[in-house]
């Protein structure tokens, strides 16, 4: 299983633990990653709201740079995924825009490179059986609320690997790792990430509701698959707790972190220490304390 | 070709078929001749090489015996069309598949001044259709003999040069074709060799009404060939036999391929013989077909 890997800006900064855990997990599962040569911004929010064409040119150029490998492009971030997939859709269905982009980029892109979110790859390429087979330390019934966020499955005509309103890929992975995937209503509600800096009061309300329902469902932690979801729910948990009047103390973990833990990753692979809401305690409660070294397979 | 001989022998010995249709060598190598083998001991004659140019599927309709037939990858599409048109059920013959890395073009050989083939069949001497072949190995074969040929990068595009040629204005094209068709002697070889021309009575013979004038005068050949283009639209599999058989070198495929190219463009990538389940374009419609030309 070989993939072109488009990390996007978060993976090299705020979501370093997503990157490390993903790379570790990919290694265990036999995924070979080639980082897209000289990749740059995917064109998410700032670009596509100021200039739609620029918002398409950026992901298209990235895909052009990925093209020589002929491999599917794997992304981890919901926004990157959305932009790159949108660029594909435009290239396939909007001949006029495709021409305009070819003018700008000096090369025609026909939408031929499939773009895949890692959840899609995990469940559909690697397979739930494989995910399960590699587990060294089962999650021992850890109660996980999978939170997909508002962008990962939307719009359904772009993001097409899971049910738009009731996605289940992450839940399948949690179950495969030995955890309990919780049925809860806020899987795809907005967490307010766009307002994380500008209007933290709104974020408090939105994130608070998510937190409350996760708690109500009995979650010990929330699993996410997008750097923005993670940083927002983690960083703004204080505001959320204030809004709801409850101390949530809800660890927000990347799904790859849970996988890395179950696969015996070392401290640096899993990167639990980076979270604001203490995540280590939850993991340790489930496994008992384990050293920070990688477990040899 | 030992395997071909053995398989053919087995089929005849076990009475699975009455006749094996294939190729046998001729006095003019590398060219071959069609062979109808009915006795196991004659199977030794069978060969397959770059001179096995004929499209043998022409012989299948109305054969009256159960045959096994050697069919090249490109020609198999014709069998699909015939099946779609209820002329030849798939179970009425056994398909012997082969790997073919290209067939020699007799005309090129002649014009190149060779009286026989050099050691290796080079692209220069290969039939045009082989240069963009995407079906080197016969699909859907009941028996596959010999080794599969590895697919080769096409050397030309299927429709190369057509857009440029047909960019001429109507008058030039008209003169070109009247000129070319004035050579036609109405020997009907193009029709008789075509695996898809199986009408009981070709309408060029019907005179009540007179669909097509019979004489070669008055540009009537042009009309005959226009009708043939119409017949081939959405059906031609580009086996190239018509052009090979034409005694006066009329480039018929240029027209057939042009229409095939247009059909592929209009009708969602349709290519004759590619998919048994897909209705031929003129027997089908889509509510969203282009309507640009309609007032």
């Amino acid at each position: 299983m070989k993939y072109s890997y488009y990390p996007g800006c978060s993976m090299h900064s705020t979501a370093a633990e997503f990157e490390s855990s993903f790379r570790f997990v990919a290694g265990v599962l036999g995924m070979e990653l080639t980082e897209v040569e000289d990749w740059f911004c995917c064109g998410a929010t700032p670009a596509h709201i100021t200039d739609p064409l620029l918002g398409l040119a950026l992901p298209t150029q990235n895909l052009l740079q990925a093209r020589p490998t002929g491999l599917d492009v794997a992304t981890t971030c919901a926004a990157c995924y959305n932009r790159l997939k949108t660029a594909n859709r435009v290239a396939l269905e909007k001949p006029k825009k495709r021409e305009a982009l070819a003018q700008i980029l000096g090369e025609e892109y026909k939408g031929e490179i499939p773009v895949r979110h890692i959840l899609d790859i995990f469940v559909n390429d690697v397979g739930v059986d494989n995910i399960q087979r590699n587990v060294l330390f089962p999650l021992n019934g850890l109660r996980v609320a999978s939170y997909y966020g508002c962008l990962l499955t939307r719009p359904p005509e772009v993001a097409d690997f899971d049910d738009v309103e009731n996605p289940v890929t992450m839940d399948k992975i949690v179950e495969a790792l030995g955890g309990v995937a919780l049925e809860w209503p806020f899987k795809t509600e907005c967490c307010g990430a766009s307002f994380s800096l500008s209007r933290s009061d709104i974020v408090g309300r939105l994130a608070g509701e998510i937190m409350r329902y996760a708690k109500q469902a009995g979650a010990e932690c929330i699993a996410v698959a997008c750097p923005l979801c993670q940083s927002n729910l983690d960083l703004r948990q204080k505001e959320a707790s204030e809004y709801e009047g409850v101390e949530f103390n809800m660890p927000i973990l990347y799904i790859t972190q849970l996988m890395a833990v179950a696969y015996g990753g070392g401290g640096k692979d899993v990167g639990l220490g980076k979270a604001i809401v203490n995540a280590e305690s939850v993991v340790h409660r489930v496994f008992g304390h384990r050293g920070s070294e990688r477990v040899e397979r | 070709m030992e395997q071909l001989i053995q398989e053919a022998k087995k089929l005849l010995e076990e009475n699975k078929v009455d006749v094996v249709i294939g190729y046998r060598s001729s006095p003019l190598p590398p060219f071959t001749r069609p062979a109808f083998i009915r006795r196991p001991e004659d199977c030794e004659q069978l060969v397959f090489n770059c001179g096995s140019v004929y499209n043998l599927t022409r012989y299948l309709i109305g054969l009256g015996e159960k045959p096994a037939i050697v069919v090249k990858g490109c020609e198999q599409r014709g069998l699909v069309v015939l099946e779609q048109e209820n002329m030849l059920p798939r179970d009425s013959y056994l398909l012997i598949g082969v790997g073919c890395s290209g067939q020699v073009d007799e005309r090129k050989l002649r014009e190149g001044g060779f009286d026989r083939l050099p050691e290796q069949l080079s692209d220069e001497l290969m039939a045009d259709k082989c240069l963009y072949c995407d079906q080197h190995n016969t699909p859907d074969a009941d028996i596959f003999v010999g080794d599969e040929v590895e697919s080769v990068e096409p050397r030309t595009e299927r429709y190369a040069g057509l857009d440029e040629f047909f960019a001429q204005d109507y008058e030039e094209l008209y003169h070109h074709w009247t000129e070319v068709f004035s050579r036609c002697i109405r020997c009907y070889a193009c029709r008789n060799i075509c695996p898809l021309c199986y009408c009981e009575q070709c309408i060029s013979y019907v005179n009540m009404p007179q669909w097509l004038p019979r004489s070669v005068a008055d540009n009537n050949n042009y009309l005959f060939h226009m009708r043939r283009v119409l017949c081939m639209a959405g059906r031609c599999i580009d086996c190239g036999e018509c052009e090979r058989a034409c005694p006066v070198d009329i480039p018929l495929r240029t027209l057939y391929k042009r229409i095939a190219q247009k059909i592929e463009g209009f009708f969602y990538g349709y290519r004759a013989g590619n998919n048994r389940e897909q209705l031929p374009p003129l027997q089908d419609f889509n509510k969203d077909d282009s309507a640009d030309f309609i007032l």
Binding site: - | F166, Y170, E171, E172, L173, Y174, H175, H176, W177, T178, I203, W211, N219, Y222, L223, M226, R227, V229, L230, A233, G234, L255, R258, I259, K262, I263, F266, F267, P281, L282, Q283, D284, F285, N286, K287, D289, S290, A291, F293, I294, L295
Partner: protein, 150 residues
């Protein structure tokens, strides 16, 4: 629609001395033929160049009819049927559309201006549209000049 009428007539008179194209029209019985009847009952004028052959459906029109019309001295041919979705036989016009799309391509490949074959949708209620179509087609063929091929 009075406009179409007058233009058609004035054009015609102005061009009196020039070339008058012969046009044959294959009209489906249910829509276009009835539409042409309506143009008549509504007295909406159009050029005399077109002569209609009534057929049950545009899907009935064999490509050879068109070719033979040209062969026999027509300068242009019009095939007209029901609008998509209105075909009395549900789908005849869709088949016709494909058939004549291809025939026009054959024409252009063989050096006949495809504009000599025109196709239109005209319903039984579109008398005025019929007059307009005839005016338009006549004008088009007039511009192309006499057909001297085949």
């Amino acid at each position: 629609m009075a406009d179409a009428e007058t233009t058609a007539k004035t054009k015609k008179k102005a061009d009196r001395t020039g070339f008058e194209p012969h046009i044959i029209g294959f009209l489906c019985n249910w829509c276009t033929y009835a539409g042409a009847d309506l143009a008549g009952t509504s007295r909406i004028g159009y050029p005399t160049n077109i002569k209609a052959v009534r057929v049950p459906c545009s899907g009935r029109v064999d490509a050879m009819y068109v070719i033979n019309a040209l062969k026999n001295g027509a300068d242009g041919v019009l095939v007209s049927g029901c609008h998509p979705g209105d075909c009395h036989y549900n789908q005849g016009n869709y088949y016709a559309r494909r058939r004549f799309m291809i025939l026009r391509e054959i024409f252009s490949a063989m050096g006949i201006n495809p504009e000599r074959l025109q196709m239109s949708w005209c319903s039984a209620a579109e008398g005025a549209k019929w007059a307009q179509i005839v005016a338009q087609v006549t004008e088009k063929i007039r511009e192309l000049g006499p057909f001297e091929g085949i």
